[in-house]
Symmetry: C2
Subunit: 159 residues, 2 copies
Amino acid sequence: MEHRIDRIKKQLHSQSYKLTPQREATVRVLLENEEDHLSAEDVYLLVKEKAPEIGLATVYRTLELLSELKVVDKINFGDGVSRYDLRKEGAEHFHHHLVCIECGSVEEIEEDLLTDVEKIVEGQWGFEVKDHRLTFHGICRVCQKQAVSAASTNESGKE
Amino acid sequence: MEHRIDRIKKQLHSQSYKLTPQREATVRVLLENEEDHLSAEDVYLLVKEKAPEIGLATVYRTLELLSELKVVDKINFGDGVSRYDLRKEGAEHFHHHLVCIECGSVEEIEEDLLTDVEKIVEGQWGFEVKDHRLTFHGICRVCQKQAVSAASTNESGKE
DNA sequence: CATCCAGTGATAATCATTATCAGATTGTAT
DNA sequence: ATACAATCTGATAATGATTATCACTGGATG
């Protein structure tokens, strides 16, 4: 964790930005909640627990900055708020998401999976791919099981 | 065009919604600007040209309705507004987009391209894919050419 | 004709995000 | 240490997209 903060610190310094206490607190919250997909408001509330004097505007500014530096990715699942997702260290591409339309859970896929597709896009459309966003909407493992057990509980024979 | 409006009309009726003049005007605007990715405001202004008495709220309501019926897809390119994109007739999946980070142009890809990837996701993650969103960010053909010609005009030998 | 109700238009309300601005903090040169 | 400039911050106002409200309309039904 300290290692990753160091890296981010260097990244900031290389563009002559500072890792202020507020920014560090924000980064720590992101690191500690890497699995989640926090909105700016979420991050603000969590940061406030460790640094109560921080302002919402600063959180927005920090997230914007981290977004420019490609430390985080700003994503939008269509629910009206932007969410911020840490890039894995060394990842040159954004990871993918599996959004469950039943329970709303979001799972991440680290594998690239798109190498072939990008080759096609570059070759056939002459488009130089720099990054991608891929989200699948569907039904997660858990909800599939629940659907099955619900069907078998209701022994009418029909779904 | 009339054919497609008829289809949409039937789709509405099947859920006991009506194709009111306002809704029809909105659908026509979407059909006539199928290549673009109009925001609600864009649609509103275009609809107003043919039906000046229409209200913005009605346009929002119609777009929301069409979105629920999967006639249009609501997309977000991260510029703060939702955009509405007609689904191609019979398409079970959403089409993909190539967003140019230089000029902001948006190109569409109708081909699926993700069949293999979806198989992997279903097999390896046990996720039942219902739909997907795929956007590539990069540099379009036009901007690539401009970059090349700008470099050769500036004959310093360096880029 | 009376009634019902989805649909509409105008506008107020909401809510996420951004802009503003005075003050705090930091780094640097003296 | 001191002065200065630049960066950063917190509070809050402003913005802008979207949604909620509410009185009204127009067509369908009996």
